[in-house]
């Protein structure tokens, strides 16, 4: 299916770098082309990078709890920038506190995310899902 390009990074004012470094490493090991924006990434930076690299997916991490505020409007901005179809994946510790994940998922799907992942999602799951996503296209 050709090399796929993933734009990834940790959104907002979030500096959790460990998972990001490891995720990027693992995705590369799995054969993807990874454009890793690191931590503290703004919505605009994701979009610019996705356009520039003609990316197949944007993978948003948020660990610190402000994910809901930070992710708000990302889909709209993508649409406006011409990335109408691009899958948006979100994972990490998306909200403040231990919340029922179904509710969190609903809220993120409603914001236009394609897939949403609970705390503790392994990189293996992430890779499998990406493969599935690309296959189904």
């Amino acid at each position: 299916m050709g090399e796929r390009t993933i734009v990834t990074g940790v959104i907002g004012a979030d500096v959790h770098a460990v998972g990001n470094k490891i995720l990027a490493f693992a995705l590369r090991e799995a054969g993807f082309k990874v454009v890793n924006l690191g931590v503290m990434v703004s919505q605009e930076e994701y979009i610019e990078a996705a356009i520039e690299t003609n990316a197949d997916v944007i993978l948003v991490s948020s660990l610190y709890g402000h994910g809901e505020i930070d992710c708000h409007g990302l889909r709209q901005k993508c649409d406006e920038a011409g990335l109408k179809e691009i899958p948006l994946l979100a994972g990490g510790n998306l909200v403040v506190g231990k919340q029922n994940f179904e509710d969190v998922e609903k809220r993120f799907l409603a914001m236009g995310f394609t897939r949403v992942y609970p705390p503790g999602t392994t990189v293996e799951t992430c890779i499998e899902d990406l493969k599935e996503l690309f296959q189904s296209e």
Binding site: V15, V18, K21
Partner: protein, 485 residues
């Protein structure tokens, strides 16, 4: 910009102060003389430093949670719950991430959204937005000393409001609140910001009000070799002492191997006294803080209790002055007050059961401690050399040169060449020494320790070990062994 490790002149300090207090409207509420009077009205048992000093005399380890929510009345209830039900000895006010990055407008939005939704939409308590008066309502509603805990590269305004607001201890430092917490702040900048904070504490000290200061020991919380965090702690203590700070708590984040953990606290305590004395800071009081495992936690709550309790045990056996406590919700998100209290309970039980046991002088600890001390001296001497005797200049140069290098840090001012991995007994060693100025025997020591592990695991020393180790505690282990071992 050139910074040096000298006490800020009054002129420089007060000129800066004028600007700082204008960064957000609540800055106007700060009045130094009135704040001194207010601080002096706080009874001794509610002062952080006093309580720490008492713990030292009594040879006990105090327990302290992390906690902070968006709405101040909820925040008060939370802290009251933690001191009453949770049996916390010391209290925190953990500040939200927007405030940490001086994004007060976004913090304001967070407060509003929290009011609307009825749940905290911020990951901490936005001190600057609330200002002096509300902080005083918070600190005066509590029976125990309260500390501000954050992660703010430029914390100048936050410090002003916090101290005027009745907090008696303040965490952070120019290195420890930059490199793990920021991407784009230069070291010069943050050292200079923290000279301001430390000078402010010094000014209060000179006015008869002692505020406890605590460099953030664990850094990125993930496999930080004791020599690295200890060196940073000592540098930050020297920088703070230079500005007139008299009460300092230096910290360390648990690695998990008991011998190494006790040795880390032991070497830190020994070497810091030596350095402070060397530079004439004989009257600076030193206490220690041990952080329960700061890296990734297991999802399972009962397993988290295992991790928490093991941290409590190490803190007690190392005779740390206080221990910062995790909760069974750690892997999930900001804990409920009940989860927070339960982490405290487990910790209190272990700490008080182990009160009379002391591992600091067992031979294995002493020899591990000697290694750490040797490593620290390599680093600190080089920093001193690079700065030609000036630790501020030396620190900037050391980060540039990778002589100071913090694993997994997000900062672009960090070399990121050093790579840690666990040895066969779970102690954190260095797989990549990077530019740490180690002697050949130390380099051999690390290499040999990792070869020992590699042999046991029948694989070569590689980055895969690092990854396996990052996940290990979350998966129930200390050493990340290959799956089919």
């Amino acid at each position: 910009m050139e910074i040096t490790n000298k006490k800020l002149s009054d002129d420089a300090f007060f000129a800066q102060r004028k600007e700082v207090l204008q960064q957000w409207h609540t800055g106007k509420e700060v009045n130094f003389d009135e704040a001194v009077a207010y601080q002096k009205s706080i009874p001794p048992h509610k002062r952080f430093g006093t309580k720490l000093a008492k713990a030292v005399t009594e040879n006990t380890t105090l327990i302290q949670p992390r906690a902070g929510v968006a709405l101040y009345d909820e925040h008060i209830k939370l802290l009251q719950y933690l001191e009453e039900e949770g049996e916390a000895d010391l209290l925190p006010s953990t500040v939200d991430s927007y405030t940490r990055l001086n994004r007060y407008n976004e913090a304001e939005t967070g407060i509003e959204k929290s009011k609307e939704s009825g749940r905290s939409m911020l990951n901490g308590f936005p001190i600057v937005n609330y200002g002096v008066d509300i902080c005083r309502i918070v600190t005066s509603s509590l029976k125990k000393p309260v500390q501000v805990r954050h992660g703010t590269p430029d914390a100048r305004l936050l410090t002003e409001i916090s101290i005027a607001g009745g907090f008696t201890s303040y965490e952070g430092g120019g290195i420890s609140y930059n490199i793990p917490y920021s991407k784009n702040h230069s070291i010069e900048k943050t050292i200079s910001y923290w000279q301001y904070t430390d000078r402010l504490v010094g000014v209060y000290e000179e006015a008869g009000v002692s505020i406890n200061r605590e460099p953030f020991g664990p850094l990125t919380g993930t496999l930080i070799s004791p020599c690295i965090s200890n060196s940073v702690a000592i540098i930050e203590a020297l920088l703070a002492a230079t500005q007139g700070v008299k009460d300092i708590t230096v910290g360390y984040g648990q690695c998990g191997n008991l011998i190494q953990d006790v040795a880390a606290i032991r070497s830190l305590t020994r070497v810091i006294r030596e350095y402070l004395d060397k530079y004439g800071f004989h009257d600076v009081r030193i206490t220690t803080v041990f952080h329960q495992w700061m890296g990734g936690f297991p999802q399972n709550e009962a397993k988290s209790f295992g991790v928490i309790s093991w941290g409590a045990a190490a803190a007690a056996l190392a005779k740390a002055t206080k221990v910062i406590v995790k909760t069974p919700h750690e892997a999930m998100g900001i804990p409920t007050k009940e989860a927070n209290a339960s982490g405290l309970h487990a910790t209190k039980q272990v700490i008080s059961m182990l009160k009379d046991q002391d591992f600091r002088e067992i031979p294995a600890v002493i020899s591990e401690s000697e290694i750490i001390e040797k490593e620290m001296r390599c680093i600190l001497n080089k920093v001193e050399e690079l700065g030609k005797g000036d630790y501020a200049i030396g620190t900037v140069a050391a980060f540039e040169a990778g002589v100071l290098d913090i694993p997994f840090a997000p900062s672009r001012y960090n070399a990121g060449k050093v790579m840690p991995a666990r040895d066969n007994m779970g102690a954190v060693r260095l797989l990549e020494i990077g530019n740490l100025p180690f002697t050949p025997d130390l380099i051999d020591f690390h290499r040999q320790k990792l070869e020992e592990r590699a042999k046991q695991e029948k694989r070569t020393v590689s980055f895969q070990m690092v990854i396996d180790d990052v996940y290990a505690i979350g998966k129930g282990f200390l050493v990340g062994r290959p799956k089919k071992n």
